[in-house]
Symmetry: C2
Amino acid sequence: MLSHRIRYAPLKEKITDPAQAAAHIGDGTNLFISGFTAGYPKLIPRELVKRAKAGEKFKVNFYAGASTGDQVDGIMAEAGIVNWRRPYMSDRTMRELINREEILFKDDHLSSLPPLVRSGDWGKVDVAVVEVLAVTEKGHLIPTMSVGNTPTYVQQADKIILEMNDVEPPELEGIHDIFIPEDPPYRMPIPIYRASDRIGKPYIECNPDKVVAVLFSQEEDTCASFNEPDEVSLLIAEQVLDFVQHEIKMGRLPAGLPWQSGVGDVANAVLGGFMEDDFFHDLSLYSEVLQDAVLDLIDMGKVRAASGSAMTLSTKARQRFFKELYRYKEKVILRPTEISNSPEVVRRLGVLAVNTALEIDIYGQVNSTHVCGSHLMNGIGGSGDFERNGAVSFMVSPSIAKGGAISCIVPMVSHVDHSEHSVDIIVTEQGLVDTRNLTPRQVAEGVIRKCAHPEYRDLLWDYYQRALKKRGGHEPHLLDEVFKFHARFLEKGGMRL
Amino acid sequence: MLSHRIRYAPLKEKITDPAQAAAHIGDGTNLFISGFTAGYPKLIPRELVKRAKAGEKFKVNFYAGASTGDQVDGIMAEAGIVNWRRPYMSDRTMRELINREEILFKDDHLSSLPPLVRSGDWGKVDVAVVEVLAVTEKGHLIPTMSVGNTPTYVQQADKIILEMNDVEPPELEGIHDIFIPEDPPYRMPIPIYRASDRIGKPYIECNPDKVVAVLFSQEEDTCASFNEPDEVSLLIAEQVLDFVQHEIKMGRLPAGLPWQSGVGDVANAVLGGFMEDDFFHDLSLYSEVLQDAVLDLIDMGKVRAASGSAMTLSTKARQRFFKELYRYKEKVILRPTEISNSPEVVRRLGVLAVNTALEIDIYGQVNSTHVCGSHLMNGIGGSGDFERNGAVSFMVSPSIAKGGAISCIVPMVSHVDHSEHSVDIIVTEQGLVDTRNLTPRQVAEGVIRKCAHPEYRDLLWDYYQRALKKRGGHEPHLLDEVFKFHARFLEKGGMRL
């Protein structure tokens, strides 16, 4: 039994079963859950799905920190019980329903969401469901492997349901740093001066009178599975690291800027690159999601601090992390998304931001979210928080996808999430272009020559040359044929002529 | 004679004439000047043009704070002596040359530029030319009607040329607040907690040994000429103010958030709207360029603080401002652009950002810079600094332009500067859509019904409905006909069928 982890005795009386707890949730409930790739509740979602399968007709408006696992997004989407979902997801079924507008979805910059919730602009926070490691003597909450937006959800909730998990060891307590900034116009500076700074409390403040149910759970998050980085990811990572190293040696970039790196294989490869390298020491990460490679770097003594909003580890890495937690806890800090992604802090620290694009155009506009302009992939997540405000913003992508059927370098992206003004360095496995001191035409020449795949280079060059001659201007474009690449893909399954 | 304004005696020996001073500038010089819509030097540009007309072949790389007047951008562009120009301009001749790539231009977010210059990434700051009001006892510089990027340019310059102007009264001294933040990773919070806070010095620190020439000038900036706001601007302004007032009354927005408002008639109309209104008191402006309406609001006792990087006044307003400077100086603060546009400060203060679009699409993507995708108008300026980081971001535009030949609401914008994720409220004279809690499809329906001009509504609706049926997805688009509006305009001079 986990009841010793409830150090505030009155809450022991709230221990109940999922059915009783989920009775607080019905049709139209605004349901706000913990979770940011990890640390989401599992019992309540399953219970809700059970009720739906038993024939109950209801839908909830459902908000998390970011994506969750199949145990939440997947099964709730399939059961048809989601009306709204915000702010980011990566589940296949949910994606399909969002693209059919059967689930309503708004793609928010992650840092912008908590203040919007606090403003009441979304309506009330009816119920918050939070996965917790423990409850303190005063009834405050210790989260598990993510913080996300949970502090704001708990603060604003009418009712709170706790899912207490015993998968994570009690020693995880102390890894979190919880700070909710005052809202404007009375906000003071967020007092983070280095990635390693702790500015808050190790628990989420909670009025325990609002807790209506406590559940015990032994469910684990679906663990991430990382592939060994492929050659393309390694080539991209190598160029990013070489570039930064070169800039530091030339005196144009100071040493010691913290890194942010998006989720996925390329991101993991960038961090992996630090292992092979003997130039970078005392690394700071000021990022969103911390992945396996962070543990390796800590083991090598290369990390000064690793700050994020969540840890998403493979099963193996999780075991390792828990086993030597005392050691990793000195380096790892988990913060609310609003702080991990804060434009104020990102700009102050001078974060080197590395994020992945779906497609990049010859002038450096970036699509991170919509396939062929219309179909949502996952969402913008925190990439805009970092790309817009980082000291140097890298946008990385393989030059081709689907075995060459898709060129990730296109004449014009079919959807823009990050404008050329917010993207500094474009990298594919083919090459790198630093756009910061180039005109758009110079960017186009560079991107076509250096970043595009050789198979598509001539097609892109032909487009650009004709646009230059027929239309001219600061960013020559032929609007009547700018999406020919995409049209061919939609018609014939390939962007090639 | 103005020499009494040179309070550091050794600099009096540097008094010379424009020809001698301009001899420090030649082919390939990186020339960094003061000026942000106002406060630019006039004698050196004229001298350079004189030399060009006399047959000398040379080109400079020329950087200012933002746009300057015809006396700089206009005549230098015409004389063909500009190789590079950054970061923003609004001159007709220069625009043409930029669109022909005869002048190289990179469209920077204004807040991102000074650190880039300090990093040395642009190369050396060979010569800085600064319009000054006075020189202090230690050789520091008092700027005139703008601050822009001058503090960084002066700090980094090898040689400095001063143009001392006697058009502005000496009492202007004290209006500026100069603060250059330390660069990451050693930056501390920028200590502005309210728009009225002063955090720096009233002068630009300068090593007087770098001053190679001092010139006296009696040239005035080309003054702005403001039109009385037309009906369209008034309707837009009214809706913005009504919306904010409503949100405050509903308790969803706190009172007292500072305003930023772009340059131009709509911006002036928004500020004008405050005059008619008895809801808003104690206004704070945390903006870029302060225009005539600010003086009226101060006169009415409605302004707590007006912070910007420049004052651009009409001739009449200038006279009034200078006459009662003692009174206005209590309210007005001029800061470096890096501070006036700081993402850190904009997010902390919770700025209500109002900026003007060239065109907006049905999903809320915004084009601020490129006509029909290719031809640069002015530049993005500071709009991205404010739209991305403000508490609520308004994007405003008339629903039509050129007497109806252009619909400013289009199926897809032909260039994206601000993505839908960074734009909250869309306003035309026809109506307003708050996109913050809408899916893209709901945004499209709202924008077509409420913001589009009635003449274009059916065409847009027809496109949207067909995209919905034929393509579907989170943001339905028909890529093969998405730019038909623009194609018709380019072919026939009008977007109508």
